[in-house]
C-alpha cells in the first residue's frame, strides 16, 4: 500500500494501457471466460434459482455466524482437527509459523489461498527460514517471476506464453524459446512433483467449511491441493470466517455455481472434503477475521462476504479487463477487490475504478450487490473527507450548481452554443480526464425540457 500518486488506480491503469495490443489481448482473454460462463449458466434452467438460494443461504449463515462458527469448531474437534482463531493477518501468520516450527518444517507446499495473500504470509514464513512453494501453476509462475497475482482464479492471466517460456527456461531449465503451453505445463508438473514429495507440510485455502460436519472443502482443477495435503503428515487450512456453510446440502448449491461461473466448467476437477487428518497425520484449521467482523457492522458492506471467490465479476468488468489486476492497490482486484479492499485503500481511488454499469452484480452467483457496495464506498470516502484530489474541491460546487434550475439551464444553453461555434481544441481542456480518450459530444439543438414542452407538453 502506498499513498503516493503512483498507486492511484488511474495512474496504474495508464501504465497498463500504454501497450494497446496487450490490453486488447488481456481484455479478450477475460471476455472468453465470461462467454464460457454464460454458456454454462445458460445450460441450467435453474440457474437463477441457484443464485437466489446461494444468496439467501449465505445471508442466513452470515447472520448466524457465531453459532455456526462454534458448531464448526466443536465438530472439527470431534474429527481430531485442531482449530485456531486469528483476529488479523499478523496473528494468522504467527499461528501458522508456530505450528510449522513445532514440526521443524523446512518446506511448505501451498495451494491457492487468497487469504494467505491477504495476510502476506509467504514473506513472513520465508523470513523465518521456511521455503514456501506455491503449487497452482499460475501461482508458481508468478512466484518464480516475483509478482503478486493479477486475478483471483487465473493469477498469471497478464503473462503471455512466451514470457512464461523465458521464465521457465531461466528458473526450471526448459528449452530456450519454448513456449508451447503443453510442454511448459509438463515441465512444471515434473518440477512440482518433486516439491510435493519432499515437502514437510501442506497448506490450502478453504472454499467452504461445513459447520454440521466439521469438514473443509477445497476445490482445484490441477489436483495440487490434494497432492499437497495427502503426502506430508501435516496439513493446514486457512479460512476466513465467511467461508462457513451450514451443511453439505448448502455446499452442494455453491459447488454447482462456483466453477460454472468461474471458467464455465460444470464443476472443478477435484472438490475434496477433509473431515479429519490422514492416518498418523495432523490437521489444523485457522479461522481468520482480519476485518470481516468490521464489514458485517455495515449493512451494505456485509453483503460482500457472500462472495465465493469465483472471479466472475473480474472477467465481466470493463474497467478490470482494460486496467489489469495490478492497478487496484489491493491484493484482490476488480469489483470484489474494491468491495473488500476500498476501506484500506489509502489512495482513496479504487471506488472510482468502476463505471457503475452493474454487470458484476448480474453475473455474481451469490448476488453480491457489487455496484451498490462500490457506490457506498464512494459515500464513505466522502463522509470521511477522503475524496480523491480534485473531486473534493469541485464536486460540492457541481452539486450546488446542478441543484439550481436557473444556473443549470443557463449554463447548458451556453455549453450547447459553445460546442457549436467554438473549436474542439479550445473546449477540450475543460473536459479534463474525461475528454482524454473521448470526442466532445455533438450539441443538440435544444434542451430536453424545451423539446418536451414543444412535443409533449
Amino acid at each position: 500500500m502506498s499513498s503516493s500518486k503512483s498507486a492511484v488506480h488511474a495512474y496504474k491503469a495508464e501504465i497498463f494501457c500504454k501497450d494497446e495490443s496487450r490490453v486488447d489481448w488481456h481484455s479478450k482473454a477475460l471476455w472468453m471466460l465470461r462467454e464460457k460462463r454464460d454458456r454454462a449458466a445458460g445450460s441450467l434452467p435453474e440457474w437463477e434459482q441457484l443464485r437466489q438460494i446461494g444468496s439467501e443461504m449465505k445471508l442466513h449463515t452470515l447472520t448466524h455466524l457465531a453459532e455456526y462458527l462454534e458448531e464448526f469448531e466443536q465438530n472439527c474437534l470431534k474429527n481430531n482437527i485442531k482449530v485456531h482463531w486469528a483476529k488479523d493477518g499478523a496473528e494468522h501468520n504467527r499461528i501458522v509459523h508456530e505450528i510449522l516450527a513445532k514440526h521443524q518444517v523446512k518446506k511448505l507446499v501451498k495451494s491457492k489461498s487468497m487469504l494467505t495473500e491477504e495476510c502476506h504470509m509467504n514473506p513472513f514464513l520465508e523470513q523465518r527460514g521456511i521455503e514456501v512453494i506455491d503449487t497452482d501453476l499460475g501461482e508458481r509462475i508468478i512466484q518464480l517471476a516475483g509478482q503478486p497475482p493479477s486475478h483471483i482464479v487465473v493469477p498469471a492471466i497478464h503473462l503471455k506464453k512466451e514470457e512464461v517460456g523465458d521464465l521457465f527456461h531461466d528458473k526450471l531449465g526448459t528449452e530456450a524459446g519454448a513456449s508451447d503451453p503443453l510442454y511448459l505445463t509438463r515441465a512444471a508438473r515434473a518440477h512440482l512433483r518433486e516439491q510435493f514429495l519432499s515437502a514437510d507440510a501442506a497448506m490450502t485455502g478453504v472454499n467452504m467449511a461445513i459447520a454440521d460436519k466439521g469438514a473443509v472443502v477445497v476445490c482445484t482443477n490441477e489436483g495440487n491441493a490434494d497432492m499437497g495435503a495427502n503426502l506430508p503428515k501435516l496439513q493446514l487450512h486457512s479460512m476466513g470466517i465467511d467461508k462457513i456453510v451450514p451443511n453439505i446440502d448448502s455446499a452442494a448449491v455453491l459447488l454447482r455455481t462456483l466453477a460454472r461461473n468461474a471458467t464455465g466448467q460444470p464443476i472443478t476437477t477435484y472438490s475434496s472434503f477433509y473431515r479429519g487428518p490422514q492416518e498418523g497425520g495432523e490437521m489444523h484449521v485457522i479461522i481468520v477475521d482480519n476485518g470481516r467482523t468490521d464489514m458485517l457492522k455495515d449493512k451494505i458492506l456485509a453483503e460482500s462476504l457472500k462472495c465465493i471467490r469465483c472471479g466472475g465479476c473480474l472477467n465481466t468488468c470493463p474497467v478490470y479487463r482494460r486496467s489489469g489486476g495490478y492497478s487496484y492497490n489491493y491484493t484482490i482486484p476488480g469489483p470484489i477487490g474494491i468491495a473488500v479492499g476500498a476501506k484500506i485503500d489509502d489512495t482513496n481511488s479504487i471506488p472510482w475504478a468502476c463505471t457503475l454499469c452493474g454487470s458484476c452484480s448480474y453475473v455474481c452467483p451469490t448476488k453480491v450487490p457489487l455496484d451498490k457496495i462500490i457506490h457506498h464506498h464512494r459515500r464513505l470516502k466522502a463522509e470521511a473527507g477522503k475524496l480523491p484530489y480534485g473531486k473534493s474541491s469541485y464536486m460540492p460546487l457541481v452539486g450546488k450548481f446542478m441543484a439550481s434550475e436557473t444556473a443549470l439551464n443557463c449554463s447548458m444553453s451556453i455549453a450547447r452554443t459553445a460546442l457549436k461555434i467554438l473549436p474542439g481544441s479550445l473546449l477540450k481542456p475543460f473536459s479534463g480526464a474525461w475528454g482524454k480518450y473521448r470526442e466532445l459530444p455533438v450539441a443538440p439543438n435544444s434542451s430536453f425540457e424545451a423539446w418536451f414542452k414543444k412535443n409533449r407538453g
Partner: protein
C-alpha cells in the same frame, strides 16, 4: 481475552437482522441419467466405457502390465501388479490406479470417492492415469441428490473427481494433466 472470544463478540454488532435458511428444492433433470453423465464426463475430458464392465477393464490392465506398467487396484475382481505401499510417497511410480467410485453425478460427470477405498488418500492424485469403476445404478441427477447420498464419516476424506487434472493457467490454453492424473477412464458395471 482469546481471539475466538473477541471474534464471536464482534459478531454481536452485525448490522443485518437474522435471515431464514432458504429451502433447497431444485427440480432434477431425470431423463437418461447415464447419457447425461457420459456427455458431462466428455466435457471434463474423461472417457466412459459403458459396455464390457470389469472383464474389459481387466483386459486393459493386463495389456498395460504386459508393457511393464505399474498398476495398483483397489477394486475387488481387478488384479494389478502392485500392492498398497507402506508410505504414500512410495506410490510415486504408479502408472495406473484402479479405484471404486461410490456415486456418479449426471449434471457434471463427477464421481464421489471415499478414502476407505483408497489405501493412501493420495492414490487417485499421484497416479499418472486413473481408472474409476462405477455402478451405473448409483448415478444421480445433480449435486443436491449427491449431497444427500454421499458418505463422509468422522475422520474421513472424500472427493468428487470430474475428469483428469487440468489447467489453463498459461494463456487460457487447456492442458490436460496438471498435478493429478493425466487421464481418466470410467468403467460402468
Amino acid at each position: 481475552m482469546s481471539s475466538k472470544h473477541d471474534i464471536l463478540n464482534a459478531l454481536k454488532s452485525a448490522a443485518i437482522a437474522p435471515q431464514a435458511m432458504p429451502v433447497i428444492k431444485v427440480s432434477p433433470r431425470i431423463d437418461d441419467l447415464v447419457g447425461q453423465f457420459e456427455a458431462s464426463l466428455n466435457t471434463v475430458a474423461g472417457t466412459l466405457h459403458r459396455e464390457g464392465g470389469l472383464a474389459k477393464l481387466q483386459e486393459q490392465v493386463d495389456q498395460h502390465i504386459a508393457q511393464g506398467m505399474q498398476i495398483i487396484s483397489m477394486v475387488d475382481g481387478i488384479k494389478g501388479n502392485r500392492e498398497v505401499t507402506d508410505t504414500a510417497h512410495q506410490l510415486r511410480d504408479i502408472d495406473y490406479a484402479v479405484i471404486p467410485g461410490d456415486l456418479g453425478v449426471a449434471e457434471n460427470g463427477a464421481i464421489w470417492v471415499n478414502n476407505k477405498n483408497l489405501g493412501h488418500r493420495v492414490t487417485p492424485f499421484i497416479c499418472e492415469n486413473l481408472f474409476l469403476v462405477l455402478d451405473s445404478s448409483t448415478i444421480v441427477a445433480n449435486m443436491h441428490q449427491a449431497a444427500s447420498k454421499l458418505t463422509l464419516n468422522s475422520g474421513q476424506f472424500g472427493t468428487f473427481i470430474a475428469g483428469p487434472s487440468k489447467t489453463a493457467d498459461i494463456e487460457q490454453a487447456l492442458v490436460v494433466g496438471a498435478h493429478g492424473a493425466c487421464s481418466l477412464n470410467v468403467y460402468l458395471v
